[in-house]
């Protein structure tokens, strides 16, 4: 059970059904459920995409690509069937938002898939959940069965003459499968090795057919856009960043939790007001604003609006909405090591810069944190990371390199403090970090 929290600044659009028993399809219908899908059927593909473009909704998985534009890339005519694929492989450290959607509002995902399917003329959608989310898979399976029983899925949905099938699918533990091309490989029953692009999934995707792949939160948002209208949705957020998103506050913050806030909400306010500030009399040391792959921000850099453009301008990324807060008791070298240890573990090994780069970074940082670092390691760490950037099939290499570069650039002194056999100045016991190095 993921616990629910609340703050007056929240705009509960996507989360308005949370905690109200909307896993039950009748309750969902009572709460304005499946009205958006009916509306979309009446609108037809072109009007659906126009509405999506007007909403300024940008992909909630991390890249922030405009959703309406993504849908518009799918060719109208295709010899092969088209598909919708929901990415519910939520695995980016710091991110736990899709869990709430699946747990409290599974039908909103189904409804989003139906609308996406209508927009591109797909007849089938897949909802892929990470293997660890078994209790959510059960909720999703029941929701799908109930939607079939009501005639919202299957043959002649809502009596429209249109057929649409949806099935849920479980992964079995793999961060990399959250990358769209690896996700398709996994759904095809293979190792999650990324595909080279072009061709992009909109043209050649799942089973070779044109495919739209969207994050679960993105698709769960879609029905709300049709409920209130694209233009209204856009107004909630900031410029070119429509609507709200689920921000996952975690780490050293008093009121950790998942909050739905408008795009562009101030990060400092998010930490100090929504999150209740830094507990235990500590002060803020750093913030990872959008999941572990996004470059760290200093306390002096957090007076910014949380949207894709403003966080980008500040030298980081909005990413997956996972805001990880570090207080001043933490060692950045240890944090960098734990981050890279994750990417080393998750690298599939297909691209050499990622496979070797993450491994060498882990080895160097491990030695460094244990007091065996030498001065030239500091630049070597940065050099290694720099050489991974943009040299891999999928963004996992970048995801490992970008935060590492930022840690070295912004906390160089802390790396130097570990030199010449000196113990970690924060007395962070390296044995846990070293255990499986």
């Amino acid at each position: 059970m993921a616990y629910l929290v609340s703050h007056p600044d929240e705009v509960k659009l996507l989360s308005f059904r949370f905690g109200q028993g909307a896993t039950n399809i009748d309750k969902y219908l009572e709460l304005d459920g499946y009205t958006a899908a009916r509306k979309a059927i009446a609108m037809g593909p072109e009007a659906i995409i126009a509405e999506m473009k007007a909403s300024n909704l940008r992909g909630r998985g991390g890249a922030g690509f405009p959703t309406g534009l993504k849908w518009s890339f799918v060719p109208k005519q295709s010899a092969k069937p088209k598909y919708i694929l929901v990415n519910g492989d939520e695995s980016e450290p710091g991110t736990c938002k899709d869990r709430l959607i699946f747990e409290h509002d599974p039908h909103s995902v189904i409804e989003g898939v139906i609308i996406a399917g209508l927009s591109i003329g797909a007849k089938m959608g897949f909802i892929y959940l990470r293997g660890e989310y078994r209790y959510l898979l059960k909720i999703m399976e029941k929701a799908i069965d109930d939607a079939y029983a009501k005639g919202f899925l299957g043959k002649n949905i809502f009596g429209s003459g249109i057929d649409f099938e949806v099935i849920s699918h479980t992964g079995a533990g793999a961060y990399e499968v959250g990358e769209e091309s690896a996700l398709m490989e996994s759904l095809e029953g293979k190792r999650g090795i990324p595909r080279i692009r072009p061709p992009f999934p909109a043209v050649v995707g799942l089973y070779g057919g044109p495919t739209v792949i969207n994050n679960a939160e993105t698709l769960a948002t879609v029905p709300h856009i049709f409920r209130i209208g694209g233009a209204e949705y856009a107004k909630i957020g900031s410029e070119r960043n429509g609507g709200t998103r689920l921000f996952c506050l975690s780490g050293n913050v008093a009121k950790a939790g998942v909050y739905e806030l408008p795009m562009g909400y101030n990060l400092k306010k998010m930490i100090y007001e929504v999150g209740g500030g830094i507990p235990n009399g500590r002060s803020l040391k750093a913030v990872v604003p959008g999941g572990s792959s996004t470059p760290v921000l200093l306390p002096s850099e957090i007076d910014i609006g949380m949207d894709f453009d403003q966080v980008g301008k500040a030298g980081s990324m909005l990413g997956s909405g996972g805001v990880v807060v570090l207080d001043d008791s933490n060692c950045i070298v240890e944090f960098a090591l734990r981050t890279i240890k994750f990417y080393q573990h998750e690298s599939c090994g297909w691209c050499i810069p990622c496979r070797e780069g993450t491994d060498w970074l882990k080895k160097t940082l491990t030695r460094f944190h244990a007091g065996g670092g030498v001065a030239k390691d500091i630049d070597n760490i940065r050099y290694l990371a720099q050489n991974m950037l943009g040299r891999t099939f999928c963004p996992l290499g970048d995801a490992a390199a970008m935060p590492t570069i930022a840690f070295v650039n912004k906390f160089r002194q802390e790396f130097e403090d570990h030199l010449e056999g000196r113990p970690c100045p924060y007395a962070k016991h390296p044995e846990a970090a070293l255990a499986h190095a």
């Binding site: 059970m1 993921a2 616990y3 069937p81 939520e90 695995s91 980016e92 450290p93 710091g94 991110t95 736990c96 899709d98 869990r99 089938m124 293997g131 660890e132 989310y133 078994r134 209790y135 099935i167 699918h169 479980t170 992964g171 079995a172 533990g173 793999a174 961060y175 996994s186 759904l187 095809e188 029953g189 293979k190 190792r191 999650g192 089973y207 996952c248 506050l249 975690s250 780490g251 050293n252 950790a256 939790g257 998942v258 990872v288 572990s292 996972g322 990880v324 807060v325 570090l326 933490n330 240890e334 944090f335 734990r338 981050t339 994750f342 998750e346 016991h429 846990a432 255990a435 499986h436």
Partner: protein, 164 residues
């Protein structure tokens, strides 16, 4: 393969597998979920499981082994009845995930990827399980336990032990 054919799975699971391969545009798409569900029932992906799954999906046993070695939840050797998976990734680490792992090691008397002699508990340090805002967190089999302290962790372990 139909349910009438000899199967190592329970009739319910065999029937489920019969249906699963028909749901997707290609049979092979059922492979990863099938392996996970088979493992849930049998305990691990033994040679017999791999052989039957390969037949059901229509690929070679080598294909199956190639796929299963990619996924961190899939395993060829059994674990304890209660598989304790402690997250030490960043959000959990910031709230005592490493200390919780050390505590579990001490309590259970086993290390990472080890099983207690009575086969009741096994321990694994895992990557992010999606419980960041409720850290530190542990998954025992598929059940989440969140906002843990060493004391509440002891209670979680005691509750599992009492179930047997």
């Amino acid at each position: 393969m139909s349910t009438e054919t000899k199967t190592i799975f329970s009739p319910a699971l065999a029937a489920r597998f019969d249906r699963m391969v028909t749901l997707y545009p290609v049979r092979r798409s059922a492979l990863v979920p099938m392996l996970l569900y088979a493992q849930d029932e049998v305990g691990s992906l033994s040679d017999e499981v791999i052989s039957e799954v390969a037949q059901r999906v229509g690929v070679t046993e080598l294909d199956v082994r190639n796929v299963l070695s990619y996924y961190s939840l899939l395993r060829t050797h059994p674990v304890g009845k209660y598989h304790v998976q402690v997250c030490t990734n960043i959000s959990c680490m910031l709230r005592g995930g490493n200390e919780l792992l050390e505590h579990c090691k001490k309590r259970l008397g086993v290390g990472h990827k080890e099983t207690t002699p009575d086969k009741l508990f096994s321990l694994e340090e895992v990557e992010c399980i999606g419980a960041c805002s409720w850290a530190p967190a542990v998954q025992v089999n598929y059940d989440f336990h969140e906002n843990l302290t060493p004391e509440t962790m002891d209670k979680v372990l005691a509750d599992y032990k009492a179930r047997t």
